[in-house]
Amino acid sequence: MLFGVGVGILLRSTPKLKHTGKVIMVVIYALLFLLGKEAGEDDRIMSSLDTLGVQALLLTLGAVVGSALCAKLVYNLFFKKHEG
């Protein structure tokens, strides 16, 4: 990826690259399709989709509460006093 960053900087003068964003989206769609296909073929995943969903929700809640608490800390330490 860092290699790509370097190439991107070098290629700035060429206007052709405007389309890389679209190429990336197409590749991502294709890979997500494959993820779906792999999950669909796997009977264990399909039969436990609800438990996977519950696990995903728990992890999300942990991530949300954790990041919100740290954001509150940073806000109180560094940002609050700069406001009127």
């Binding site: 990826m1 290699f3 790509g4 960053v5 370097g6 190439v7 991107g8 900087i9 070098l10 290629l11 700035r12 690259l17 890389t20 964003g21 190429v23 990336i24 590749v27 991502i28 890979l31 997500l32 399709f33 494959l34 993820l35 779906g36 296909k37 792999e38 999950a39 669909g40 073929e41 796997d42 995943i45 399909m46 436990s48 989709l49 996977l52 696990q55 995903a56 929700l57 728990l58 992890l59 999300t60 809640l61 942990g62 991530a63 949300v64 509460v65 954790g66 990041s67 919100a68 608490l69 740290c70 954001a71 509150k72 940073v74 806000y75 109180n76 330490l77 560094f78 940002f79 609050k80």
Partner: protein, 200 residues
């Protein structure tokens, strides 16, 4: 929101194809998808390097702003690590790989599928989509309970695109630049942190 629907659409389409076993299983083997993944990483890098504004706005940020992505990363990984104790099926590192998506569901779930299989990849996809939805819906509450930076941190990597309008609306215009640079920095850490926690 349209983007998310298209993404889920492709995933669901894949599930249907997989259930019907329309495409033989050997087709598009794992090796090919590894190379496609490398190509994808390269392209993501190219767009970052190509965008002058992106790097310039990173350079303009002052040191205070850097604490916001740090809070997001530390808070997310800490929260996910705690939750992982409730999930004996997955190791703490695997749970942290899911958390390291920071709402960037397309890229992180693809990576995790590659390294850890489709089950954890599916969790990553669902979890990171949920994170974006929570950021979109709960911003007013987050603001009231946790201050102006919380909507940005919870939005994770999406704070520079899909959730930026709502952050602007609630946290205020002064926080737009913070939200954008936060999104860029968190976004950049996703591939590194996800692969790191997958290989631990």
């Amino acid at each position: 929101m349209k983007g998310s629907l298209i993404i889920i659409g492709f995933f669901v389409l894949g599930i249907i194809v997989g259930l019907g076993k329309v495409i033989p299983e050997g087709f598009l083997s794992e090796q090919i998808s590894t190379y496609v993944l490398y190509a994808l990483m390269f392209l993501v890098g190219v767009t970052i390097g190509y965008d002058k504004e992106l790097l310039r706005s990173l350079r303009k940020t002052n040191w205070r702003i850097l604490f916001v992505p740090l809070a997001t990363i530390v808070g997310t990984l800490g929260g996910v690590a705690l939750v992982s104790m409730l999930l004996p099926q997955w190791t703490m590192a695997e749970s942290m790989a899911v958390g390291s998506g920071f709402g960037y569901y397309s890229l992180s779930s693809i990576f995790i599928t590659q390294y850890k299989g489709a089950a954890l990849g599916t969790i990553a996809l669902m979890s990171n989509i949920m994170r974006e939805i929570i950021a979109l819906l709960a911003t007013p509450l987050l603001l009231r309970w946790f201050g102006r930076l919380a909507p940005i941190s919870v939005a994770g990597a999406t704070s520079m695109d899909t959730t930026l309008p709502i952050i602007t609306q609630y946290s205020g215009r002064d926080y737009v630049l913070i939200a954008i640079s936060h999104g860029i920095i968190v976004d950049l850490t996703v591939p590194f942190l996800v692969t790191f926690f997958c290989s631990v």
